[in-house]
Symmetry: C2
Subunit: 124 residues, 2 copies
C-alpha cells in the first residue's frame, strides 16, 4: 500500500542563466521566487495552490514536465510501469519516466507526509 | 484593475484517439476522466486541487502547456506582453502566447469568479 499525487510541474528552460526565466515566470504566474535549490532549480512560491513549481535550467529543448510525488518511489514507478510508462533514468532519489504519450515526467519522494492531503490517492 | 492566476495545465497529445492518453493520465494522476469537452478535450477531475487539467488532442508534437486564467483577457495579455511574452494566435475567447523562454501557454477567461480564490493576484 502506498500513496501518490500530482506534486506540480517544472518549467524546464534551455537557458544559460535562470534570472530571466525566473523573473518572467514568477511575474506571469504571480508567484514570488524563493531561494535557489542548487544551481539548476529556483522554486516559485506556489504554497497557496499546494503545488511545487520550479524553474529548472536544462540542456535539452525547453518544455514543461509534471512531477508525481509519493511515499514509495519504487512502488509508484511499478504502478506507472503497469499503466504503460517506462523508466528512463534514476537521478538521486527520483525516477525520470516516459509516458505512453511520449511525455517525460518524474516520480519524486514526497517532501512532507501525503496523509490526508488534497488529491492523495492510496494504491493497493 | 484585473485579476489572474494559474488555471492549470493541458496535456497535449499528438494522438489520433484520446482514449489511451486519458486512461493513462487519469490513472497516473489519480484523477477520474470527465465527459469530453468537444472533440479535442477531455478534462480530468482535478477539483480537489483547484486546478483545470485537460488532455487535448493536437497535431503538433506532444507537450504540456500552462493556462493562465483571468477576468480580463486583453488586460492580462497586455501585462504578459510587457513582461516579454508575445501573442501567437487568438482562438475563440483565448490567446496562445509564447514566453521569452520559448514555452507556449494560453490566457483564458476564468470559468468562475477569481475573487478571493487561492493564488489570485490583482494587477493595477
Amino acid at each position: 500500500m502506498h500513496q501518490s499525487r500530482l506534486a506540480g510541474f517544472i518549467i524546464d528552460c534551455d537557458s544559460a542563466a535562470l534570472d530571466g526565466p525566473v523573473a518572467f515566470w514568477g511575474a506571469a504566474l504571480g508567484m514570488d521566487a524563493r531561494p535557489p535549490d542548487g544551481a539548476a532549480y529556483v522554486p516559485l512560491d506556489a504554497a497557496a495552490r499546494d503545488l511545487v513549481i520550479e524553474v529548472q535550467r536544462v540542456s535539452h529543448p525547453s518544455r514543461v514536465h509534471l512531477d508525481i510525488e509519493t511515499d514509495d518511489v519504487e512502488a509508484e514507478v511499478g504502478r506507472l510501469e503497469a499503466l504503460g510508462a517506462r523508466r528512463l533514468e534514476q537521478i538521486r532519489s527520483w525516477w525520470v519516466m516516459e509516458a505512453p504519450t511520449g511525455h517525460r515526467f518524474c516520480v519524486v519522494r514526497a517532501r512532507a507526509s501525503l496523509e490526508g492531503r488534497a488529491g492523495t490517492r492510496r494504491w493497493p
